[in-house]
C-alpha cells in the first residue's frame, strides 16, 4: 500500500494530459457543435512536431515547443476548413464522419512519413525529480500538472473576464443572436478550432518525454478524451477536466493492481459504467431538445 501515493501522483500526471485533450474536445462541442474524432491526432501531431524540431532539426527545446504550438494552432484552422466548413449546414452526422476520415488520414500520413517505429524525446529534465515523503515526483510530471493548472486558470480568465471570452461564450450559446450582435461567428469558431488544436498539441508535447511518440498514441488518447467527457458530463468544461483526472488515476491504479495489458480497457469499463448508471456524467445536465 506504500505504492498508493506514488500511483496517485502518476495518475494525476497522466490524467492532466487526458484533461487537456478532453478540454479541447469539449470546447469544440460547445462552440461549433462539432464532435471531433480527430482530437487524439492533435496530440499526436504536437508530439511529432516536437520530434521534428527537437530531435531531427536539433533546435533548442523551448523554441521547438513554441514552434510546435504555433503550428498546431494554425493546423486547427486548416482542420476546420477541411472537415467542418464545407459540411457545417448539413447537421452533425456528416461532420462527425468527416472528422473520423481526417483522423484516419492524419494518423496514416504520419505513419507513412515516419514509419511504425516509436520516437523517443529526451526532455530537458531527464530523470530528475523531488522526493516528497514516500513519493518520488518526477520533474516532467510536475511540469505537466503545473502547465495543465496554468492553462485551466488562463482559460477561465479569458472566458470570464475578457470581451473575447464573452464573445466566444455568446457564439456557443446562440450563433444566430451572436451574429446579429455583430460578433464574427465564423472567426470565433475558427479561433476555437485553433485553440482546441493547440491544447491537444500541448498535451502531446507534454506527454512526449514520458511515452514513446507513435501514431498509436492518437487512438489511445482520443479514447480517454471521449471517456473523460462522458464521465465528467457531456459538454461540461469542469467535467472534462475532472473526468480526465479521474480516468488517469483510475487506469493507473487498475494497471498496478489488476492488469497491465488491459490498461486501456479500464477507461472503456468506466465509460460503460457511467453510461449505464449515470449517463449525464458528474456535471452534465439532462439535455432536452426544444420542439
Amino acid at each position: 500500500m506504500t505504492m498508493l501515493p506514488q500511483l496517485l501522483f502518476s495518475g494525476l500526471g497522466i490524467g492532466a494530459i487526458y484533461a487537456l485533450v478532453a478540454l479541447g474536445f469539449v470546447l469544440l462541442i460547445r462552440a461549433a457543435g462539432v464532435v471531433n474524432f480527430g482530437q487524439g491526432e492533435f496530440a499526436m501531431l504536437g508530439a511529432y512536431l516536437l520530434v521534428v524540431f527537437f530531435n531531427i532539426l536539433a533546435l533548442p527545446y523551448w523554441l521547438s515547443i513554441l514552434l510546435a504550438v504555433v503550428l498546431m494552432a494554425a493546423f486547427g484552422v486548416i482542420f476546420a476548413g477541411a472537415t467542418y466548413w464545407p459540411l457545417r449546414h448539413r447537421g452533425g452526422l456528416p461532420v462527425i464522419i468527416s472528422t473520423i476520415g481526417a483522423s484516419i488520414f492524419l494518423e496514416n500520413t504520419v505513419l507513412v512519413l515516419y514509419g511504425p517505429a516509436a520516437e523517443q524525446v529526451d526532455g530537458p529534465f531527464g530523470d530528475t525529480g523531488i522526493d516528497v515523503g514516500p513519493v518520488f515526483m518526477a520533474s516532467q510530471y510536475l511540469v505537466i500538472i503545473g502547465v495543465a493548472i496554468l492553462l485551466v486558470i488562463l482559460q477561465y480568465l479569458i472566458f470570464e473576464k475578457t470581451l473575447l471570452g464573452k464573445k466566444l461564450q455568446a457564439v456557443s450559446q446562440d450563433k444566430e443572436m451572436a451574429s446579429l450582435l455583430g460578433i464574427p461567428v465564423a472567426g470565433m469558431i475558427l479561433l476555437t478550432f485553433a485553440y482546441s488544436s493547440a491544447l491537444g498539441g500541448i498535451a502531446g508535447i507534454l506527454v512526449a518525454p514520458i511515452l514513446f511518440v507513435s501514431t498509436g498514441m492518437a487512438g489511445a488518447i482520443a479514447l480517454k478524451a471521449f471517456a473523460a467527457n462522458i464521465i465528467g458530463g457531456y459538454g461540461s468544461i469542469p467535467g472534462a477536466i475532472l473526468g480526465g483526472l479521474a480516468l488517469g488515476i483510475g487506469e493507473t491504479l487498475g494497471a498496478a493492481y489488476i492488469s497491465v495489458p488491459y490498461k486501456d480497457a479500464f477507461a472503456f469499463a468506466m465509460l460503460l459504467a457511467f453510461l449505464m448508471v449515470r449517463p449525464q456524467g458528474l456535471f452534465g445536465e439532462k439535455i432536452s431538445e426544444k420542439a
Partner: protein, 598 residues
Amino acid sequence: MSTRILAASGAPPVAVTAARPWRGLPAAAIAILAAVALAAVAPDQGYLLNILMQAATYAIATAGLVVVLGYCGQISIAQAAFFGIGAYGVALGTADYGMNFFVALAVGAFIAGVFGLVLGIASLRLGGHYLAMVTISFQQILTLVLVNWISLTHGPDGVRNIPRPVLFGLSLAGGRAYLGLGLVALVIVTLAIWRLKSSRLGRAMQAVRDNELAASTCGIDIFGTKVIAFGISAVLGGIGGGLFAGGFQYISPDQFSFAESIVFLTMALLGGVQSPFGALLGTGLLIVLPEWLRFLRQVYLAVYGASVILIMVFLPDGLWGIVTERMRRRARPILGAVPRLPLLLLSGRATEEVVLEVSALAKHFGGLKALDGVNIAVRRGTVHALIGPNGSGKSTFINVVTGLYRPTAGRIRFTGRDITGFAPHQRNRAGLARTFQNIRVFKGMTVLENVMVGAERPGSDVAADPAGVTRRALAALDFVELRGDAHRMVGTLSYGHQRYVEIARALASSPEMLLLDEPAAGLNMTEKHGLGLLLQRLKGHGLTILIIDHDMALVEQVADHITVLNFGRHIADGTPHSVLTNPDVIAAYLGEPRREAA
C-alpha cells in the same frame, strides 16, 4: 369505432401497388441462381477466388452499416469488431471445440448481436455520437482482448485450419462450392435489407434518422428502433465475419482492427449508405481497386481517410445515390381513386364527452413558471383553440401534453386514461397526433413515406396491413390535395405544402385528437386561406382538434371553444364571443388602458 365504419364504407378497389408477399420472389430466385452461376464459373482456388470471397463476406458486414448508419442515422465504428467476433466464433467453435460450422456461425452471430445490444442499450438513449464513441472504444478493446487472451483466442498467432462445412450432404470444402455459399448468403442479405427499407421497421428507422422528436410523436419508440438497427448491424457483421473465417481458413487479430472498421465505413459511404446495393458496389470497388492500385499499398489507409472527407463533401449519397435519384425522377404519379379517411366518415357533431382533460398542469423551468396550474377540457368533436400572447405558455402546454416535456405537477387524462407518465410514442399510440410550429418532416423520405409513417402508428386499424397503410396514406394526401406529389422528396415541397404533409401524416394515423401547434406560422396569405378551408373541412367531419395560433382570423373561423393563457395561467375560457370580448383578454393582448384616459 373507425374500423367498423371503414368496413361499412366498402372501399372501392384502387390502383395502388399492394404489398404482395410473393412480390420480388422471381427476382430473388434469379439473383440466387446468378450467384450460384457466378460461383460455378469462378476458379476453385487462387487470387480471383480470394477477391470474390473477400468481397462477398465483407459486403454482408457492410450491409449492416446500411441499416444502422444509412437507415437509422447512427454511427458505428466497430463493424470490424463484430466481423471479428463472428470470425472467431466460427474459428474457435469449429477448430477448438468441434462444433458444426453452422452452429458455430450462429453462436458467433449471436454473440456479436448480444454485444451490439449491450453497447446499444448503454449508449443509444443519448445522442448519435455516443454510439460512435462507445463503438470506437469497443473496437480498440476487442483488439486488446484478441491479442492478450491467448488461452482462448490463440493471441497474435491467430487460428489456423478452420474447416469448411458440409451442407445437406454436399461438401463445401472446395473453394468454388464455399464461394457459392457466401454469394447466396450475400444475395439473401442484400435483398432482405433492401426490403427492410420499405417496411414498417425500415421507415421507423428512417424517421428516427431524420427527426427524432417527430418520430416519437408518430408512435415510434426511438430508443427501441435504434437498438434494433444496431443489433441487426452487429449480427450482419458477425455473419459476414463467420463466413470470412471459413473462406480463408485462417484468421488473426489484425484482420479485425480499427483500420478495418474504417475500411467498412468507407465502403458503405462510397457506394451509398442508403442502399444495400450501394454497399455492394462500394465493397466491390474498394476490394478490387486496391489490387489494381498496388502502388497505394503503403498509403491506402491515408487515402481512405481523405476519401471519407471527399465523399461527405462531394458525394453525400454515394455512387448508388446517383442511380436512385434518376429512378425517383422517373416514378409515375399514382392514379385512380382512393378510399376516404375513416375519421372523415365520423358524424360532424360535437358531444359532451371529454377527450382530453388537463388539470392543474404546471411546468417550471428553473424559476420560470411557463405553466402554472392550467385546467383545460377538450370535448369530442369540437375545435378547441388555445391562444395567448408570446411567452404565455402555449407551446409549452402542447409539448407537455404530447410528452416531450415532463410536467412539474398536474395530471393529463386522455380518452379516460391517465397518460401523465406516458412517453411521447405511447401517447401517440393512445390516439394523440400533433404537428409542429417549426415543421418537422422526415427530410430523407418521400411525401408518401412521410405520411405512411403516420398511418402505421401502432394501434392504428391499418398498422398491420402494408397495403392498407399505403391506401390510408394516399387518402390522407388526397385530403390535403398533395397526392400528385406523393413520390417527391418532401424537402422539395414549398414550406406551406410541407405543413400540409405534416397534417396529412397526423390525419393518416386516424387520431382521436389532433393538436396543431401554430399551423399558420410562416404561411403566406394564400396558404393561410387554404389552411382555414382545410381546418373547416376537418371540423365539418367532426375531428376533435386542439389548435394553438396567433392568427385570430383563423381561430375565429374554426373555434368552438377558446382558452386564453397569459403568464402560464388561463385567464379566460368559453365560447369565442365571450372570450374575445372579455376585458382581461383584451388587456393581455393590447395592454391595460391608462386610467386617466379611461
